[in-house]
């Protein structure tokens, strides 16, 4: 027991989870912005915009996240010399956030599109009847309801993002939890299972409230029809 407790003083476990939460926070903002733009492109009446949106979604959704983050770190930074400022560590962190945002934007786009499908036809017709064009109708009538209808799939994407933030390990973010756990179990072979369970339960504790919050929000914010 004492043996096990020593890992908490030797390693900064809450700090490792904090890095994952930070990765998730910034990537979630990026994915939400990019995903909304992609969803707008996909529901626009312009064929080339639709093609750009669906092309992006189909390419990104079918590529492993590992390749996308490796690409950001090895190809964008390593081979092309593209940096996002800050010191060495901050640059890797930001490149990983970029990779996570690019990947999850495709899923956010699909979530919002499914939300648009929950908006009744009459809403769009009413918007047109009072003279709103495509963008005003989308901004004032369709998207606010679509977001409220898309809370469950958006919440699922957020949960996936929290878990996928561990993949930043391939982006050389050595302070996040899967990298910390890796070095811990390599040095402490005597308590491999307790260490794994510690980290696993940490994720359960983060993920389950998000799931409950999603369910609660989706009920509370459901558009009364």
């Amino acid at each position: 027991m004492e043996n096990y407790l020593s890992i908490f003083t030797e390693y900064n476990i809450p700090g490792a989870f904090w890095v994952n939460i930070q990765l998730t926070f910034w990537a979630a903002i990026g994915a939400l912005v990019l995903g909304t733009i992609l969803a707008l492109l996909r529901i626009s009446p312009v064929a080339s915009f639709q093609a750009i949106g669906s092309g992006y979604v189909n390419l990104v959704r079918n590529t492993p996240l590992t390749i996308i983050i490796l690409f950001a770190v090895l190809a964008l930074y390593g081979q092309l010399g593209f940096t996002l400022g800050g010191d060495f560590q901050a640059n890797f962190f930001r490149l990983s956030v970029l990779g996570l945002a690019v990947y999850h934007a495709a899923f956010v786009c699909e979530a919002i599109r499914s939300g648009v499908n929950t908006v009744p036809l009459g809403q769009a017709e009413a918007a047109r009847a009072i003279g709103l064009g495509f963008m005003p109708a989308a901004r004032l009538i369709i998207l606010p309801q679509a977001f409220r209808g898309a809370i469950v799939p958006l919440g699922n994407t957020l949960i996936a993002l929290i878990k996928n933030s561990t993949v930043a390990a391939v982006g050389s973010v050595a302070t996040e939890s899967s990298s910390v756990m890796k070095s811990m179990i390599e040095f402490r072979a005597d308590i491999v299972i307790p260490i794994f369970l510690t980290f696993a339960i940490g994720f359960v504790i983060i993920v389950i409230p998000v799931g409950l919050l999603t369910t609660w929000l989706s009920k509370k914010l459901a558009v009364a029809r």
């Binding site: 996909r42 529901i43 009446p45 312009v46 064929a47 080339s48 915009f49 639709q50 093609a51 750009i52 189909n58 390419l59 959704r61 079918n62 590529t63 492993p64 996240l65 590992t66 390749i67 490796l70 690409f71 090895l74 190809a75 081979q79 092309l80 010399g81 599109r113 499914s114 648009v116 908006v119 036809l121 769009a124 047109r128 495509f134 109708a137 989308a138 369709i142 469950v152 799939p153 699922n156 949960i159 878990k163 996928n164 561990t166 390990a169 391939v170 939890s177 899967s178 756990m181 179990i185 390599e186 072979a189 491999v192 299972i193 794994f196 980290f199 696993a200 359960v204 993920v207 389950i208």
Partner: protein, 304 residues
């Protein structure tokens, strides 16, 4: 459907405007592609010798093909394992025994919340050091992690598939003297499996993508081989693009198959609905139609 609710059928002026915006959009898209291409060329990344490695037989024979074989091996073992895991735990969650039900719920919810990468890293050390398993422990670590996570997702698919079946299916089974378990095995699960097939194939895409996480524990899969090959040759960027294209081609095919199966299933349900209505007449037909609508929810599962 979503595309048509937002705007009326355009008139001549709107059509002209859409055409102009359409051309501008296409030009922007082409511009971005050209910008990437010339940007890469400007950085000296478009030299033929950096790319022709990937059309040479020796590269494929020594690196890409063995890598792809290992990736597919992990994915197929993961798929088979997670379907079995999913069936066992999905049925467990449907059990009326509170202990079995609770146990299966805890297992499924736990493994759905733990990142796959965390499990891969853990199993890799656990298999090699604690259990001292012989052979390719990295492969077994990847497969085990894939099975625990995706098996839990499949278990949820099985459970929701059975829940979405019309109640009459179980009642009919019990009426002809089957036990609860027999009606599950012979009547409900086979139908649930068919209804969840599109979502299940969609999950195969997830399994194939997640197998690339094996890269982190140096499992000899496609991405790892591509990286090992390209590092000394200075064409990592090109190798990553080629690897991504291979993954996209396989996954895109799988997604298309899922779509096709989903369409086939929904048309089959509609057909049987009409047939039932014709055969049994109106009142019973309405009942059958209600059932068929319920079964229709399978392919529309949000996970698909």
């Amino acid at each position: 459907m979503s595309a048509s609710i937002l705007f009326d059928t355009p008139g001549p002026r709107a059509r002209r405007r859409i055409l102009i915006i359409n051309i501008i959009g296409a030009l922007i898209a082409l511009g971005v592609v050209a910008w990437i291409f010339f940007g890469l060329a400007g950085k000296g990344q478009m030299k033929p010798e950096q790319w022709d490695d990937f059309v040479q037989a020796s590269t494929w024979k020594n690196y890409l093909w063995p890598g792809l074989v290992n990736t597919l091996k992990a994915a197929i073992l993961g798929i088979v394992g997670s379907v079995i895991f999913g069936l066992v735990f999905g049925v467990g969650r449907l059990s009326q025994n509170k202990l079995i039900n609770g146990l299966c719920t805890v297992v499924v919810e736990f493994f759905r919340a733990v990142p796959v990468l965390l499990m891969i890293v853990f199993f890799n050390v656990f298999f090699a050091r604690s259990l001292e398993l012989p052979g390719d422990t990295a492969l077994w670590a990847v497969v085990a992690a894939l099975i625990f996570y995706n098996g839990s997702v499949v278990a949820e698919l099985v459970r929701s598939g059975v829940h979405n079946l019309p109640k009459g299916q179980r009642e009919a089974g019990i009426a002809i003297g089957l036990t609860r378990g027999m009606s599950l095995r012979h009547i409900e699960i086979p139908q649930a499996l068919v209804a969840m097939l599109p979502a299940l194939i969609g999950q195969f895409v997830v399994i194939l993508k997640d197998s690339a996480l094996g890269y982190i524990i140096s499992f000899n899969e496609l991405l790892f081989f591509a990286r090992t090959y390209s590092s000394p040759n200075g064409n990592v960027l090109q190798a990553l693009i080629v690897t991504a294209v291979i993954f996209i081609l396989i996954n895109f095919t799988l997604s298309k198959i899922a779509e096709l199966v989903s369409k086939r299933l929904s048309s089959r349900v509609k057909k049987s609905k009409n047939a039932a209505a014709e055969l049994v007449g109106a009142p019973a037909g309405a009942l059958a139609a209600g059932g068929a609508d319920n079964a229709d929810e399978g392919p529309n599962d949000p996970r698909a």
